[in-house]
Amino acid sequence: MKVASRVCLITVVGILLLGNIGVAPGAAQTGAAAPLAVPAADPLARSVERDSRRLGRSHELESVLGREIRTRVEEDVGRIIDLLADRSGQVRAAVIEFGGFMGIGTRKIAVEWPALRFESEGKQPTVILEMTRDQLRTAPEYKPNEPAVVRKADE
């Protein structure tokens, strides 16, 4: 049961991500318009197909949870452990765990979603955080049960 809920959550995360890399706010409208032309087709699948054609190489969808992130200068600075969405379902921030040793002394912080760039150049797709290490370490700790303080790339 727990496993099922986790799989479900990852799927939701995947769909949210799709909404975000694609033509995010317009995705629902394009989907709604499509059935007029081909009523039998699944609107979501069609919009995915259209987005893939437009976006070329970045059409492959990938899971986000557990992904390693790097900054412009450093590799392996941390890992995405959660995504934060607003009431409309829009992903606003990623929760990142970093630092410590063998799990002791790690910190969790929330960074604004646009500060993460998903680059598909090269063989290994990488997630780059457009922040410095100093911006990361001084960000306030993320607390699951409190309103999140999101660190922005330009602060």
Binding site: V3, G66, G99, G100, M102, I104, T106, R137, E141
Partner: protein, 411 residues
Amino acid sequence: MRDSDEQDAVHQPSRASQRGLDWFTFFVANLQTGFGPFLSVYLTTQKWTQVDIGLILSIGSIAGLASQIPGGWVVDAAVSKRRAAMLAVIAIGISAVLIAVLPIFVMICAAKLLHVGGSSVLGPAIAAVTLGLVGHAAIGERLGRNARYAAAGNGLAAGVMGACGYFVSAQAVFYVTAVLAIPTLLAISRVREEEVYAVRADGGLCASDGAPVGALSIGRFLRKPDLLILTTCIMLFHVANAAMLPLVGSAMTMRSSQWATALVAACIVAPQLIIAMISPTMGRLAETWGRRPVLLLGFGVLPLRGALLAWTHDPYVIVAVQLLDGISGAVLGVLVPLVLSDISRGTGRFNFAQGVVGSATGIGAALSTIAAGYLADRYGMTTAFFGLATAAVVGFLVLLATMPETKPSPA
């Protein structure tokens, strides 16, 4: 029943058994490294959600608390302490395999419970094998030697497994752990079964004439004032101690940008080096000075460490202050089983007593995490360290005021 001649012969364990026990404590420390906070790092790499990780950790800590006393009781009841230790190692090995191969909720939950169960038996079983092997006369020195090998194992494993997790994968750490179960079993198999005298391993020999006595009822044993005082002091110690290292770690991560990981690693490994160096001395001092002064030393260093951590912000000074953790670590590692062996002598409840102290440790550590987290959130890290130092002062004063000397007076 054995006669006294036979018992004397058993007092001189063979070199093979002694070496076997050395390596056993070393490898057990290796075996346990990956199961700590690292498990949640591994589960995030396996795309686990924070909710599920939190649930597993809660299940683990509740089961851990509940299993301590039954674990000790099982070891007292076991005919072969050696075999109890072996089964515990096998359980932990299987747990590591499950974690590495099948990181799905049901399996991780099963693995966690298997590990908790194994550990609750393994801790007392090591002390039981030790007491059964060397007897009360030589146990102080032997516990010092155990602590030395355990610390060497802890320090080395933290370094090796940290590197393994960083350069290979988090999963590899658990494969390595599973493989390490093999040398652990080989080491304990070198300890000769016939040299581990089971009745002595429970503290079941009368202090005056060395004859086996029936086990004291649990109700009466739990009313022993020495046991209650020691348990209270140990709990207070851990209320002060448990959250200090994690707090130091997150302070390092927050304050130092480039060397944070290496500095946190140094804060973990450095105290182990101190423990490896001074544990045998602590064992010897406990036999000459008595238990009380050595315990007071270990408890006295803790408030100092808390206060210094509150005072300094320099990462390198913090690593130096962490060396004090090595002193209290060595004292607690040697003196707790030693004092328990004094208290339980002639009761047949040595391992049960370790379970009692194990529970107190768990409760103290849980309170420590809650209190330090609250203080750090509300008032900042300095206040959190001062809060922990205050708990350490209380622990020291309670020990000073109430703990009697338990070293048997020479006949």
